[in-house]
């Protein structure tokens, strides 16, 4: 708190000052805390507000609905941690769904088609990474261009129509298992959980993870301590591309048709999830746990508001307010500690 408060104020004002500072520090050091609290509040609220919200099937459905955008947001988190942004992620994944499907519709066996498509997704994202790191173009511009390119390529390649998925493996992620004979899990949910767990582990426990944060937070410091910024950036886009490839596979598990017009707002939805999850657009702060929470908050809001019979326009409005609120909160918690 300001010096004047401390000097002129009574003991009581000083105390509240300290307390609000320590609360702020707590949130600044645990960026997942705020979003998690918001998620719990939303769940409790909708559980009381509607009779249909609080049941296992609904929760399972909410998670199933969020895995594709959630996985796109996982790759997006890595890019945003380097203080970048990826507007092309969903367009890359949609291209991946078409490539998988058309290759399998042709002569390739399903597993080969899948691997080729994931490698292709990784290659496209890596190209973005090379343009960002070697030619020093702003990520916003690079991925905006890549979005237009990939949308066009996908439309041309699909001949403007949807393609049904011929191979069982490509839709395998849609198969369900029932825990306790009751709780429905899809293989897609399991894969998403594995991807989040692995990414969390690598970010938290390896030198590469530390370097991703350092490059995003203070590139000059990273360079002076001998971190190869270019290599780190390219590797981040590459890993993100692999994750987008898996998102493509998950999308076919949800809908067994490759649709060139699917996930058109996937890029912005993924950014929304990342930002609501507390990862800073300025880079170097946040992480994948927040992104899980962020993706769930969006899905819970949609599901809950729908069940309350509220117009989907108001759902969009609520999400928009949440995004702005999350960024304002991020800045407010940082201002004091910085």
């Amino acid at each position: 708190m300001s010096m004047s408060t401390t000097k002129s104020g009574t003991t009581a004002t000083v105390d509240t000052g300290r307390r609000s500072d320590s609360v702020r520090a707590l949130f600044a050091r645990n960026p997942v805390l705020g979003p998690t609290a918001a998620l719990l509040v939303a769940i409790v609220f909708f559980s009381f507000a509607t009779s249909t919200f609080a049941n296992v099937d609904n929760f399972s459905f909410i998670v199933q609905q969020s895995i594709v955008v959630g996985t796109l947001a996982l790759g997006q988190t890595l890019v945003i941690l380097t203080s970048g942004i990826d507007l092309a992620n969903a367009s890359i994944a949609v291209f991946g769904t078409l490539l998988m499907t058309r290759l399998a519709t042709g002569h390739l066996p399903g597993p080969v088609a899948m691997i080729v498509a994931i490698v292709a997704c990784a290659a496209v994202a890596t190209l973005s990474g090379l343009l960002v790191s070697r030619i020093k173009l702003p990520p916003f511009i690079v991925t905006l261009g890549m979005l237009a390119v990939m949308t066009a390529v996908t439309n041309l390649y699909s001949k403007g129509t949807t393609w049904p998925v011929p191979d069982g493996l490509l839709t395998w992620l849609g198969t369900s298992l029932y825990l306790f004979g009751r709780v429905q899990f899809t293989m897609g949910m399991v894969l998403a959980a594995v991807l989040f767990a692995v990414t969390w582990f690598v970010l938290a426990k390896t030198g590469w993870g530390r370097h991703v944060y350092a490059v995003g937070n203070e590139p000059e410091a990273a360079r002076l301590t001998g971190i190869h910024i270019d290599r780190t950036l390219v590797s981040v886009y590459l890993v993100a591309g692999v994750i987008y490839g898996f998102a493509a596979w998950m999308a076919l598990g949800r809908t067994p048709t490759a649709d060139p017009n699917a996930y058109q707002t996937g890029n912005l939805d993924s950014i929304t999830a990342v930002v609501i999850g507390g990862t800073s657009l300025f880079g170097g702060r946040g992480g994948v746990l927040g992104t899980i929470v962020g993706a769930l908050i969006v899905a819970v809001l949609r599901s809950g508001l729908t069940q309350m019979g509220i117009d989907s326009n108001y759902q969009n409005l609520a999400t928009g307010v949440l995004v702005i609120g999350a960024v304002a909160f991020d800045q407010a918690t940082r201002r004091r500690s910085a």
């Binding site: 520090a25 600044a28 050091r29 426990k205 390896t206 030198g207 590469w208 530390r210 370097h211 944060y213 350092a214 937070n217 203070e218 000059e220 410091a221 990273a222 002076l224 301590t225 001998g226 971190i227 170097g284 702060r285 500690s337 910085a338």
Partner: protein, 264 residues
């Protein structure tokens, strides 16, 4: 210039260093000597070429002419990383820390300790070892004001941040530690802490190069003062034999350095 009255083996020397940028001569035949365990201050006006000299000694720029020897062996640094690998650590004015990351991570940034065996091959970090080492280093340097090494650097005061950067240099610098204006942004008490750190490091036998405009700080910690003017060393003086205003006159060129003040 080359007359050496005391026979000592220098840790870092530069001879006849030259660096030109077009018509501008940043370093004009500069010499430099740093001896083991000493604190050598480098003083000079803005534009005198102090930074260029330091950059040449740390590989940040390649001199057009001249030789550099580290511990008696000729060296050619192609980058600051080269110099760092040879044991020369630099504390930059910007400190080169990532504010959002914790103290331990910053201390080991780019030089993380990995786990033994297979886990290490998978590049998994040994966080416990790094924390222990960080704690030991801060304790050894008497940086007692930093209690929690898991807190982000941005939650520290300016002096504490400086202390983290200095601790990193002391931890990895095996031959030389160079500090660029370490007290420029600090208050009186924090300056005193940093000067105390500099003394501790040099007492360990690690020589420190201190680039500073802060005359009281220079006089408090340095064993010798290297006066830099117009791209070259005009002399090295003994702070016990001259006053601060004398040194200011040497810097501006208003006075010549008298023979009795020279400390080669």
């Amino acid at each position: 210039m080359s007359a050496t009255t005391v026979e000592r083996a220098a840790m870092l020397t530069g001879r006849g260093l030259v660096k030109r940028y077009g018509h501008v001569t940043a370093i004009n035949g500069a010499d430099f000597d740093l001896y083991p365990g000493e604190v050598l201050a480098i003083v000079g006006d803005n534009g005198a070429g102090k930074s260029s000299l330091i950059k040449a000694l740390t590989g940040a720029l390649q001199p057009d002419a001249g030789t550099i020897e580290l511990d008696g062996r000729p060296v050619h640094f192609h980058s600051p990383l080269d110099a760092r690998r040879s044991g020369i650590e630099t504390v930059y004015q910007t400190l080169a820390v990532a504010p959002a990351l914790d103290i331990t991570t910053n201390l080991f940034l780019g030089r993380e300790i990995r786990r033994d065996g297979l886990l290490g091959k998978l590049r998994i970090l040994d966080r416990k070892a790094m924390r222990t080492e960080a704690r030991n280093q801060l304790d050894a340097l008497g940086i007692a004001t930093i209690q929690d090494i898991t807190q982000p650097v941005e939650s520290l005061s300016g002096g504490q941040r400086q202390a983290v950067a200095v601790a990193r240099a002391a931890m990895f610098g095996s031959k030389v530690v160079i500090m660029d204006e370490p007290t420029a942004a600090l208050g009186v008490r924090e300056t005193a802490h940093v000067l105390e750190l500099i003394k501790r490091i040099s007492n360990r036998g690690l020589p420190v190069v201190l680039i500073s405009h802060d005359m009281p700080a220079v006089f408090e910690v340095s064993d010798r003062i290297h006066v830099h003017r117009l791209g070259r060393r005009t002399g090295v003086v003994d702070p016990k034999k001259v006053s601060m205003s004398d040194v200011v006159s040497f810097i501006t060129g208003a006075e010549e350095i008298p023979d009795e003040a020279i400390a080669w």
